[in-house]
């Protein structure tokens, strides 16, 4: 990258602070587990889990774009990496989670819990 000769130190520390704050928020939520978020259900899982997943994706974005300097790459190089991975991972996860739910529906009535 020809443009990258000036120092980006300030931005690096900024991203570090953001990632740390997100992690701290995750840990606080993970310890407190507010009942209103933890025991309710939204789109298949609890809102708390959705918060964790969204914060995680945000962290992943921060690491990839700032630390791995994806923002500095050419647009189509970026897309060849990110779109490929995102598409295949979404596909795999969707299939396996649907299958897992199905296995639960079929198998859980067969498990004995009273003696």
């Amino acid at each position: 990258m020809a443009h990258a000769h000036e120092s980006n130190t300030k931005r690096i520390w900024m991203v570090f602070i953001i990632l740390s704050v997100i992690t701290i928020v995750e840990v606080i939520f993970g310890i407190i587990k507010p009942a209103s978020l933890h025991l309710t259900s939204f789109l298949g899982t609890s809102p708390l889990n959705w918060i964790f997943i969204i914060l995680t994706l945000f962290k992943a974005y921060g690491i990839t774009w700032a630390f791995m300097h994806m923002e500095g790459e050419k647009k189509w190089f970026r897309r060849s990496v990110v779109w490929t991975a995102v598409f295949l991972i979404c596909y795999l996860v969707a299939l396996l989670l649907i299958e897992g739910g199905y296995l639960f529906d079929i198998m859980s009535p067969l498990t004995k819990w009273n003696y």
């Binding site: 990258m1 990258a4 000769h5 120092s7 980006n8 130190t9 690096i12 520390w13 570090f16 990632l19 740390s20 992690t23 701290i24 995750e26 840990v27 939520f29 993970g30 310890i31 933890h38 025991l39 899982t45 889990n49 964790f52 997943i53 995680t56 962290k59 992943a60 690491i63 990839t64 700032a66 630390f67 791995m68 300097h69 790459e73 050419k74 189509w76 190089f77 060849s80 990496v81 490929t84 991975a85 295949l88 991972i89 795999l92 996860v93 396996l96 989670l97 299958e99 897992g100 739910g101 296995l103 639960f104 198998m107 859980s108 498990t111 004995k112 819990w113 003696y115």
Partner: protein, 331 residues
């Protein structure tokens, strides 16, 4: 990668894919990115398989807060989450020092690159040590449990005096009755064949102590979906479960797991182990690059792109940990 190709070392050239730079990225950097894509898919495969299994046993999966409860120097304190959070910070911080090394490399500041590379290596080693400690606690176990003939895990809980039920260790209530149990070592029985190590207590001792302690109750793996807590049985119901007791389980390995389903332990060992192996190889590669920096290889080459490439790998390892952290410990 240039080192493996026979080129004239005098004119400072390394093989660079013939000088083509599609998308403006060098051959090495582009291939590192594509390797990362394929490695990301490998990890997704593992995590998605974990997700499938978890959905399959959604009403009896171990609760991470009850499994990972240790913190160094805080013995006996129930401290869920804090330790993995610390590990996450260590890894994110070593990612920061790595990106600072890359940044210093762009400005051709050799001394700064050296220092930041060293800090990154130290961060990686601390993370590996933390992971080893985490594994040790998991393998050793903290409470002990009883497994029934059909493979279910029964844990023991007690009222802590404030109306909350807390898990207690076998050693907290089981009375050793000194019954005759012979461990099969290499010296007795079949020569040079040792049997399995005996657990601290026998099934009989646990059952008797359960009967003698009115306040000790049994917690089963099944989750009450309304409260998302493991179900605690009444005294009589627990006694009926104990009629099917097969063995005492302490700790976790690939066959049994005192925290619940053995496949939870299998995934834990496999996924964190595979990630730990990535960290380990990352540290090795970082050390090689570190010495190259000291020797001035990149100074002579005129650029520090090698630091950037190994940095990509290092950040990727951090990226994977972010997901492992979420799906193993949080969700």
């Amino acid at each position: 990668m240039g080192a493996t190709i026979a080129v004239n070392s005098e004119d400072k050239t390394t093989w660079n894919g013939g000088g083509n730079r599609p998308f403006g990225a060098s051959y090495g950097k582009m291939m590192m990115w594509f390797f990362i894509v394929s490695d990301a898919l490998t990890f997704s495969g593992f995590l998605a398989a974990y997700g499938l299994t978890r959905f399959k046993f959604i009403d009896s999966w171990p609760i991470a807060d009850e499994v990972f409860t240790h913190f160094p120097f805080l013995h006996g304190v129930h401290a869920p989450m804090y330790y993995v959070a610390l590990m996450t910070f260590i890894l994110i911080f070593s990612s920061v020092t790595m990106v600072l090394a890359v940044d210093a490399g762009h400005q051709m500041k050799k001394k700064k690159v050296t220092v930041y590379m060293l800090l990154t290596i130290i961060g990686g080693l601390i993370f590996l040590g933390s992971q080893a400690w985490e594994w040790k606690n998991f393998i050793k176990g903290s409470y002990g449990a009883v497994q029934t003939t059909d493979g279910k895990i029964l844990q023991f809980v007690k009222d802590d005096g404030h109306g909350a039920m807390h898990q207690i260790a076998l050693s907290d209530f089981v009375v050793d009755e000194h019954e005759e149990r012979v461990e099969h070592t290499k010296k007795n029985g079949l020569w040079n064949e040792s049997g399995e190590t005996l657990p601290s207590y026998s099934v009989n001792e646990v059952v008797n102590s359960y009967k003698n302690n009115a306040d000790v109750l049994i917690r089963i793996e099944k989750i009450d979906l309304a409260t998302k807590q493991k179900i605690i049985l009444s005294k009589e119901e627990g006694a009926r479960y104990l009629l099917n007791a097969k063995q005492v389980v302490e700790g976790a390995n690939l066959q049994v797991n005192e925290y619940g389903n053995p496949i939870f332990a299998d995934f834990f060992f496999f996924i964190t182990g595979f990630h730990g192996f990535h960290v380990f190889s990352g540290v090795l590669i970082n050390i090689i690059i570190f010495f190259n920096v000291i020797l001035g290889t990149y100074e002579r080459r005129g650029h520090y792109e090698m630091v950037e490439k190994v940095g990509l790998y290092w950040h990727f390892v951090d990226l994977v940990w972010v997901f492992v952290f979420t799906f193993f410990y949080l969700v």
